[in-house]
Symmetry: C2
Subunit: 248 residues, 2 copies
Amino acid sequence: MAGNVGTPGATVAGRVMAILGAFDDQQPRLPLSELARRAGLPLPTAHRLAGELVRHGALARVGGDYAIGRRLWEIGLLAPVPSTLREAASPFLNDIHAATRATVHLAVRDGERVLYLERLAGRASVPVVSTVGSTLPLHATGVGKVLLAHAPADIRRRVLAALTRVTPYTVTQPGRLRAQLAQIRLTGYATTVEEMSLGACSVAVPVRREDQVVAAIGVVVPTLRRDRARLTAALQVAAQGIARHLGA
Amino acid sequence: MAGNVGTPGATVAGRVMAILGAFDDQQPRLPLSELARRAGLPLPTAHRLAGELVRHGALARVGGDYAIGRRLWEIGLLAPVPSTLREAASPFLNDIHAATRATVHLAVRDGERVLYLERLAGRASVPVVSTVGSTLPLHATGVGKVLLAHAPADIRRRVLAALTRVTPYTVTQPGRLRAQLAQIRLTGYATTVEEMSLGACSVAVPVRREDQVVAAIGVVVPTLRRDRARLTAALQVAAQGIARHLGA
DNA sequence: CCCGATTCTTCCACTCAGTGGAAGAATCGG
DNA sequence: CCGATTCTTCCACTGAGTGGAAGAATCGGG
């Protein structure tokens, strides 16, 4: 007389919530055994449900551990807590800053604007208009273009329909910007040349978490400096490091 | 020969994700029929599952509609998107600003600091140190105290263990601050008197969503003005309005 | 390199949690 | 007031879910 039976009265939805609720600020990633313990589920049950949630994108596998997956981030009302992102990014931004002496930015998309979360001022007196906490149009800055390139289609549509001119070099033709965005998605980095303020160029790359672009980092340099390749490489290394530290 | 049978091959976890995934930026709240349609589920099934998710706090009922519930917000890695909050708050902040002519703030907790999301400068020349995007200690400002009072226990513990002095009036005794926080939870508002900068007083109240404190709004006035009761009342009305607009 | 401890994964007999058509209740709008 | 629409409850039926046990992989010390 073997054969097991589901605990009477318990629902699958409840067990799913128990698993999602097992994660918190302190423990963004858990091994299966810990996950099962926290959720109060037998190990095989936790294993099967967690696997199913991974298949649905609600959880992600990180090495041997489980973490909150991108599917939950896609629900528009949820976003990475700023401090998590900032903490993960801080050392990498400092590295870039030390290596390039340029102005370094960490930014996220906030609706149809770029929101600057962090800013390390560079040596050179480049005219930079961004300040921490302020927002700028998505289409005229490096980090903005990166975020726009990976924004949902309807956001992109709305932004492209209202391109304001900031400098004579701002891209205001929807077709041209659309081509640039495609290029950005392809090459993995964005550049601007005096599109936001005269005398300043920028290079920016996305920070991904679970294949989802959650932020962008970029540098602003005087128009004269043109070591784009080196800057881009440094930024991409940093972006990967940040992603790793975000626990994904 | 009646009797229904669950669609073969489908899992409950998948249906749960279909329901959660039905919500997005544009549609933070949905009636049952729309929810069922988007999730691709028969109406009774959607009804039962949604009800279960509400019981588990993953969804919330807003009037007749369903919305993402607080349980998901409690998972430390998820937070309200800043723009949603800002958009919901904007008209109310303007009202308060017009009515009081004081400096008005919208802030959220970012780790162990207050992060200012919005700031409407007041008429009077009050010494206010906050700027949009900057962070300040939680224990020395009105909005900070509100957010601290409703922060998780471990955040509270850590902040209370490191109270730095800013002015001679800053509360730096953990016992005294703890008593103030209890009072704030009880009365629903916080006040400071020259604890962050000499010459400035503040009143602040929490903004709740689903019984969860997600932000705080407050005003800063010269120490002379003492119409606290009126300010508090105006703030509380605004906080409720914001919460309503957040779709909760 | 081997072997015991630990953690993860698969298997599967058994059954109760889940299903969804249909019918009834509530709500809306004219 | 009454028809249309949306929401909720009911319930006969069964396959999705369960979890102990056993096997596989991984780790760490000697």
